[in-house]
Symmetry: C2
Subunit: 388 residues, 2 copies
């Protein structure tokens, strides 16, 4: 096990009515709040009006910035930074899913920074502070509600890049599973794939002697696999929605990855897909992750056998590890399919004519991943497996 530091200070308030506490929580951080959100869903559902009323009741003044999109855009982040500076807001409240929260994080680190906010995502600067950030989560998926990272898409070249820094953890996050009842099955499934990927990125490590957190990762995956089909089938099933929502936070609050080095190649390989085609990140991951597995499993067959046996209860063939491994990957694909996700490019109606270009872009800053470092040819081979 590697040395590590774990410090996750986000206060999570979870359960029915959690969002009603937004006034009390937000008021601890100032008087003027930038309310950041995406599209019209939270307007139509009445959530926005309820949140505004709660904020006003707690004496807060509201500045509004809507329009955050999936794969959130740098241009809106820059607009938000200008707005927050001009209005001298004290804190940001993100109402939405991972895209809104990531966008809010980027605004939050951009406001106190003298340079251009893209510097952080381009690896040219480290953020030293962030405006206090509160979250009302409506989509369990990205785990951004307590994670230390943000992913932003720069329209100039459609570069999708992540930045990680401890200052980016939200101060508080309000998680009401009932707010996710209106998520359509496809979006629910995409969220499930995203959280599973967050766990699997940490699970596939070269670090020896991490069996305790191996067990935790496998358990989290099994819990998600148990509840996800129910959440997809019965959108108003509180048991499924609440367990899936909490799973999304646990999957990415760093606890499961302590003492290990994660891989994260699949995330980066997927980023090129969603940057180019605007496919949902989770759907892209359902396509990329099994392909990545098929390409790298020979590097550490034991770990893939363990995955197959412990996560998917594959009956182990002790004489033929490869058979066990491939059955594990097949069951992962089968699970993704069963909840309505694509597992090949063609399932998502994506063309396969720009694989070279994506592989070049994905590896422009060097090889991807740590489990097996992947150069351009490796990534291209994985994209081809996405098209097999």
């Amino acid at each position: 096990m590697r040395n590590f530091t774990f410090s996750n200070t986000t206060k999570i308030i979870f359960g029915r009515g959690a969002e009603e506490k937004v006034g009390r929580e937000a008021a601890q951080y100032g008087r003027k709040v930038l309310l950041h959100y995406g599209g019209g869903h939270i307007v139509r559902s009445g959530l926005k009006a309820r949140v505004e009323a709660a904020l006003r009741e707690a004496g807060l003044e509201i500045v509004e910035l809507g329009g955050a999109q999936p794969n959130p855009r740098l241009s809106l982040v820059r607009e938000g930074i200008e707005l927050a500076r001009r209005e001298k807001v004290d804190l940001i409240l993100a109402v939405g899913g991972g895209s809104v929260i990531d966008s809010a994080k980027a605004i939050g680190i951009g406001v106190p920074y003298a340079g251009d906010v893209w510097d952080f995502f381009a690896g040219k600067a480290q953020a030293e502070e962030m405006l206090p950030l509160g979250v009302i989560l409506t989509i369990p998926a990205a785990g951004s509600e307590s994670s230390n990272s943000s992913v932003i898409t720069n329209e100039d070249g459609w570069l999708k890049r992540g930045y990680t820094g401890e200052v980016m953890r939200p101060a508080f996050a309000l998680l009401n599973p009932e707010l996710t009842y209106s998520l359509p099955p496809y979006q629910t499934a995409c969220g499930v794939a995203d959280m599973m990927a967050h766990i699997m990125e940490r699970y596939f490590t070269n670090e020896p002697d991490v069996l305790f957190s191996d067990h935790l990762c496998e358990a989290a995956l099994r819990g998600i696999i148990q509840y996800a089909p129910i959440a997809v089938r019965e959108p108003e099933n509180y048991a499924a929605r609440s367990n899936i929502m909490w799973a999304g936070t646990i999957a990415h609050n760093d606890l499961l990855g302590m003492g290990r080095i994660g891989d994260w190649a699949s995330h980066n390989i997927e980023h090129e897909l969603s940057a180019l085609y605007d496919i949902a990140h989770g759907a892209g991951l359902a396509i990329v992750f099994p392909a990545w597995m098929k390409y790298v499993y020979k590097h550490n067959p034991e770990r893939f056998v363990q995955f197959a046996v412990r996560v998917f209860q594959v009956e182990q063939d002790f004489f033929n590890p490869e058979r066990t491994i491939l059955e594990g990957i097949r069951r992962l694909e089968e699970f993704f399919r069963s909840i309505g996700l694509p597992v090949r490019l063609k399932d998502a109606d994506l063309p396969a004519d720009r694989l070279e270009e994506m592989a070049a872009k994905a590896t422009a800053d060097g090889p991807l991943g740590s489990f097996v470092p992947l150069g351009k040819d490796d990534v291209l081979a994985i994209y081809k497996l996405c098209n097999s």
Copy 2:
């Protein structure tokens, strides 16, 4: 799943050499530190001298209070409160195991409180603040390094009582698994029983629809069961020591219990044993927990079947749940025995002549537990099972 708030702000620095960072971490909280510890072990090992040098190098002034005992005593807590007030210390540094940390927590909430510190443990007052507390952990067991609770023994009547409050989380905790190499096998095993009990107290709940955290609890138990025999057999095995040390923190940092209501009757039933006979808390738990299980399993056989199958891989007898359940409890006892722990009073050379008295004391403030609320007669029956 129940509504909950999760907020664990303790910064954990984990790994080889972690304690060397004590100066930098402590200096963030002031200039004068109360160094609290137990017996001579940290003196003989040289740890105390190294810690003092690091603190002085960081410009801190040290006030010393040794002598914390297992089942830490109220009298020393009161002495520490007087000392900390007189010397106007800014923070406390606890170097040791759960007893030292619990003692330090009690001192820390006592210093700013106008009344008597026992008020908190007697349920007469709520702590509103605690002096900042740092920890260098030498015994993985109690999880007190990031928990929100403390257990203190009042010599006046040998009352052992716990107090829980969010202000009691340490500010930072330094965990170096190498510092646990010198723990004797018996003490290592007692720590293992303690952390397993922390998980099982949360696991046995009446709350429905918590299968995600069920999986996490079972995983944590399996990880501990896998590494504990190695740590007992090979004291300098870093893999085992590091996984067990991290498990002890996870077992009690509250994450595994979110959305559930824990039971905690076994802890209270054990407290009477260790208050009266000064047996190690973990050894007492190894005796009490299986007895508690035998007494209550009929209340929710399904949960005990799940425990047996998932934690101890008992081959399920679908036609005879009781057989499966009893085999699970038998394997838990067998596991405790295998790492050198007692599972009956006589194994620990404890007499059985004051069971009535203990049952009366344990239930003096009302029934124990929430899974099955236990009155005096129930607790007496459990003590008798400890003597079966």
